[in-house]
């Protein structure tokens, strides 16, 4: 069934390429290939990445193309399977002979494709697979920007430093889901005690799916923890928030790992989802050029108030790759790589300089949900709203 789907997508893609090449015989298009999980459990997110890619292509083709040539995507469906992502990356490089690679999703797929890109000396701009994937000595891979669990709470930490010590929370309850993402979130709060003087009183992990958050919240309340880190996903985050309300647990701050930045959080939780802090590497409220236009496009085409974060990521990775190609004035992968390593790129997520590993300087934006909207709190330069701290008590 899935095989059939993949075949159909291939045929359609092929048909589109043929039609496209017929229309613009003048310049041979630049082929950009790779795979995304268009079906399977990551399909929803990947769909938005693909839309971001396609919108970028549309925009650049309207302006006369990349290096004067139109761009075309060959997007295979890896069915949310990292092994297939590798196969399709090889196929794109060796069979389709693509000119450029695009970044895959999620981190596991990106991490698996990075060595392939290195082997064939192809520049690979993606989210990467957390810090480990960038410490393997790959030279052609860039996190432009990356999604780094290890940096996740940088924005929060930096902001908390601006709070007078006496007003800071003293005792932290940390509940972390038992998976690699949870582990990297934990990594990002290593300096909580040293830098901020917040003592981690409870540090527990749980398996997904979390059966019930009541015992966790009960423990946090009994241990008098005045800050709660819920290092989990949407589902367990919702459970934690609701248990905190039910037990009338009122810490000074609640920090949610992943999930509070997506629209469902405010839509489904309503007021109960307010005042939760989280991090993000990209946000549609950022002031960097391009964000406003993307929001308008998404509003017009899909009726959403602003672009979903993965639409932005897709677009942003292409911005980085585009600047590398234009900077190098060539499709020579090594030249693109060397240009990217020596120049600053300007994207909707911010301005980045890449180090030897292909990573920008560690950064992360602090967000807080205020009145049902995700606001940017830190760094000060991107702030859209003053933080609400300490968190008001449950009503």
């Amino acid at each position: 069934m899935k095989g059939l789907k993949a075949t159909l997508i291939l045929i359609l893609t092929a048909a589109m390429i043929l039609m496209g090449s017929g229309l613009s015989m003048a310049a041979k298009p630049i082929l950009i290939g790779g795979s995304l999980p268009l079906t399977g459990k990551f399909a929803e997110t990947a769909k938005w990445i693909a839309r971001g890619y396609r919108y970028w292509a549309e925009e650049i083709n309207k302006k006369g193309g990349l290096l004067g040539r139109p761009v075309k995507f060959i997007i295979y469906d890896d069915e949310s399977n990292a092994t297939k992502a590798v196969t399709y990356a090889e196929k794109a490089i060796t069979v389709d002979k693509v000119d450029l690679l695009f970044g895959g999703y999620p981190g596991t797929a990106a991490r698996a494709v990075m060595p392939v890109a290195e082997k064939y000396k192809m520049v690979y701009v993606s989210m990467g697979g957390h810090m480990k994937s960038f410490s393997q000595g790959y030279t052609y891979s860039f996190g432009g920007p990356p999604l780094m669990g290890e940096w996740w709470y940088l924005g929060f930490m930096d902001w908390m430093k601006t709070i007078p010590k006496k007003d800071r929370p003293k005792r932290a309850a940390v509940f972390t889901m038992n998976n690699p993402i949870g582990a990297s979130l934990l990594d990002s709060m290593k300096t909580l005690e040293k830098d901020l003087g917040i003592k981690i009183v409870i540090n527990e992990k749980y398996n997904l799916p979390l059966p019930d958050a009541t015992p966790l919240i009960m423990k946090a309340k009994q241990m008098k923890c005045d800050i709660l880190f819920s290092n989990g996903f949407f589902a367990d985050g919702v459970m934690t928030m609701r248990a905190a309300k039910a037990l009338n647990y009122n810490p000074k701050a609640i920090v949610q790992g992943v999930g509070s930045v997506i629209p469902a959080w405010t839509k489904e939780l309503g007021k109960d989802g307010d005042y939760v802090f989280s991090g993000t590497a990209l946000h549609n409220k950022l002031k960097f050029p391009g964000n406003k236009k993307l929001n308008e496009v998404v509003k017009k085409r899909w009726g959403l108030p602003a672009y979903p974060v993965y639409f932005g990521f897709g677009y942003c990775w292409m911005q980085t790759l585009q600047q590398g190609v234009e900077g190098a004035k060539s499709l020579d992968q090594t030249k693109i790589r060397d240009w990217l390593k020596s120049h600053e790129v300007h994207t909707i997520a911010g301005n980045f300089r890449f180090d030897k590993r292909g990573l920008p300087k560690p950064y992360n934006y602090l967000t807080q949900v205020i009145d049902g909207r995700v606001e940017l709190i830190w760094p000060l330069s991107v702030r859209t709203h003053d933080p609400v701290y300490p968190k008001p008590h449950w009503k």
Binding site: P211, M218, F234, V238
Partner: protein, 311 residues
């Protein structure tokens, strides 16, 4: 229930002695585990029913559960119908929908040489169709029930019971009780058990296997819907959630004995208990090791499941 549920949570007696904290927490975790376990149990019982009655492994069982949760969510959002009442609204749709699915999808493959495999392929397809159908009419975003008693709890001694979880668990227990009484006490329920124990003899005495299987499938789908709504009180759900739920259904059914309703219900509680205890008691890494270790041991020692495999 909702109206009386407007309790102001009383102050939790806060004791600083670490032992008390731990003791209460362990019991609190047991409570939490049993509540979710009851829901796993109900989902497993419905799955078992279909397996027992027609030797069909219904991969779509959890997808029907998610469908039930979505229908209840829709009723809640659009008309403010509480999901408990919502279940009774959607019950006939699920029941007759299940019968239609059986009659036009499952029954035609019942004559295939290998029912187990062909039904797995077929119901896998069903699951994908349901998943895509939900994504299509709703959006694929995660959903949660927000009722008047969401975010409220009542206390029994030092133990907290969140209303939504409690309602979900009670629904699951009621569902299991209804299925049990149906199988044990009603004429049709007995005929169902008879036809899965001795299909040929059942036919000899006038039991129409097609009709009885159709009813069983309808009931299973309805119970899946109930289980899905109960799950919805505890978890958020999205069109893909059924994959996760299915793993637990398998676990519960294998542990409880395929086709064994009472055993499956008990296995659900047991798995919930283990999960609950994992929060408070033993190191988190052990939970899956223990659960699956237990599973392997049981399959080696008692391949028919932990409990006597009688219906």
């Amino acid at each position: 229930m909702a109206r009386r549920g407007r309790f102001r949570p009383r102050r939790v007696p806060s004791r600083t002695g670490d032992r008390n904290v731990t003791g209460i927490l362990v019991l609190q975790s047991v409570i939490s585990g049993l509540m979710i376990g009851a829901i796993y149990g109900l989902l497993g019982v419905g799955f078992s029913l279909v397996w027992g009655a027609m030797k069909v492994i219904n991969i779509a069982h959890a997808a029907f559960a998610v469908l039930g949760a979505y229908l209840a969510y829709f009723l809640l959002k659009a008309f403010g119908v509480d999901p408990v009442l919502g279940f009774f609204v959607i019950l006939p749709f699920l029941f007759f929908g299940g019968m239609v699915v059986y009659r036009f999808l499952i029954f035609p493959v019942m004559r295939a040489r290998d029912i187990v495999v062909s039904s797995m392929v077929l119901t896998f397809g069903c699951a994908i169709v349901i998943e895509n159908f939900i994504s299509l009419i709703g959006s694929p975003d995660p959903r949660v029930f927000t009722t008047r008693y969401t975010g409220r709890a009542f206390f029994l001694g030092p133990f907290a019971f969140q209303w939504p979880q409690t309602v979900g668990a009670l629904m699951a227990l009621a569902g299991m009780a209804v299925l049990y009484v149906f199988l044990k006490k009603t004429h049709t329920g007995k005929a169902l058990r008879a036809s899965w124990q001795q299909p040929e003899a059942a036919r000899l005495y006038g039991i129409n296997l097609r009709r009885i299987s159709m009813i069983a499938f309808g009931l299973a789908v309805a119970s899946a819907g109930l289980g899905g709504i109960a799950m919805g009180f505890v978890y958020s759900f999205d069109p893909h959630t059924h994959n996760l739920w299915l793993i637990y259904i398998f676990l519960v059914v294998i542990l409880g004995g395929v086709g064994n309703v009472l055993g499956t219900a008990l296995a659900g509680l047991l798995i919930g208990l283990l999960n609950g205890l994992s929060l408070a008691f033993f190191p988190y890494q052990w939970v899956n090791v223990i659960t699956f270790g237990m599973l392997i041991l049981i399959l080696l020692v008692r391949p028919a499941g932990l409990f006597r495999s009688e219906v």
